[in-house]
Amino acid sequence: MALTLQSFPTTDAAGAALAADGASRYLGGGTLVVRQANEGDPSFSTYVRTTDPALSAITIEGGRATLGASVTMGRIISEGRLACVADATKSVGGPAIRNMATVGGNLYAPAPYGDFAVALLALEATVEISDGPVPLEAFLAARHTTYARQVLKSVSFALPRAGSLRFLKVSRVKPKGVSVVTIAAILEEKDGMMTSARVAYGCMADRPIRAQAVEAALAGKPRTADGIRDALTVATDGTSPITDAVASAWYRSQVLPVHLARLLLAEQGQGRN
């Protein structure tokens, strides 16, 4: 099917065009929607994009980072002030994909993709849409319904302390393969105890999810093999892993506690991907 591209100077104009035409799709970096077109998806005939420079802005002030929805993974990697999330962005694809894939697109990427969104979920990021801010967890839960035809403006999050974002992408293909499971965690520790934990999973549902049972089980415990034991027993609570060519849901459930333990017990900032 012939496809056409419509470009708009502002995000709101692009949003209006997207809302008015059910056979249109938003074009960000192209890694999702052009791929769909190449695969022959007949559900759309028009690409809508915006050249609004605000979507490409990175703002860091008051301990908070705001990333325009069109900011690419490559730009985040090259922005020294965002080194705290570099491991997560480097886990996305190869260099060419990272130069194209955007923050906004990552929030819509279906499992097993969307690894950066897992990190953003652990960071309790907020998504800015035309109606205002939405917590990322709520956005992800409704990304294919309420927010399916939104043009995202930005994503913001409180900058974590250097090395405090633990991130692990498990893949069977080196150096760059799709995820078997992705885990991100922010642990607050005081006097040898974890005072709070935010843990997020990728591939353990159709979207990135928080591991609430794990978070509750870690609070008030030391970060030791004994201290995380209860958390590991509930590691798969609330999950519904995907099955794909890389791994079955059963396999993902079996290996999740092993990788979660490695991530939690690693020295700070020594997650791997």
Binding site: A2, T4, G30, T31, Y47, R49, G94, P95, A96, I97
Partner: protein, 160 residues
């Protein structure tokens, strides 16, 4: 089908053409501009055989729309050799048997050029990361990695 005007430089040459709206840069390069060095493999962003440089950044031409490249500087493997003299990367690939069937080679060369343009003395780890988005089904990768390291060494020697 609606046609739109596109204008960019391709390997340093000014190019302008009317193309169908919505076609990929890969399709435009091969079918409108006759640059057959850019290969279409998976069309999913997985294999890297369609890699090009757009304003110096490595990108996948199968996932870009040609009309979004207006005003850009595009580089492909067809522009690597100069006056019949192979680029150091091409020479290293040739001498190191880093190409077998050759289908992935243009993408590998462009990915390697993107690396050496910003990091003339890469480590092996840098090279592995740089070609991490390019798939080769016959070489086993090691000759490719060695060829890129060899080209980098040759460059550093000639620059000294």
């Amino acid at each position: 089908m609606a046609k739109v005007a596109v204008q960019f430089t391709l390997n340093g040459e000014e190019e302008a053409e009317f193309i169908e709206s919505g076609i990929t840069l890969l399709k435009a390069l091969r079918e409108k501009f006759g640059d057959m060095s850019v290969k279409g493999g998976c069309h999913q962003g997985t294999c890297g055989s369609c890699s090009v440089l757009v304003d110096g950044e490595l990108k996948l031409s199968c996932l870009m729309l040609a009309e979004t490249c207006n005003g850009a500087a595009i580089e492909t493997t067809a522009g690597l050799a100069s006056g019949g003299v192979l680029h150091p990367l091409q020479r290293a690939f040739h001498e190191g048997f880093a190409s077998q069937c050759g289908f992935c080679t243009p993408g590998m060369l462009i990915a390697a050029k993107a690396l050496l343009d910003r990091n003339p003395s890469p480590s092996r780890e840098d090279v592995v990361d740089a070609i991490g988005g390019n798939i080769c089904r016959c070489s086993g990768y090691e000759p490719i990695i060695q060829a890129i390291l060899s080209a980098a060494r040759a460059n550093s020697v000639s620059a000294a």
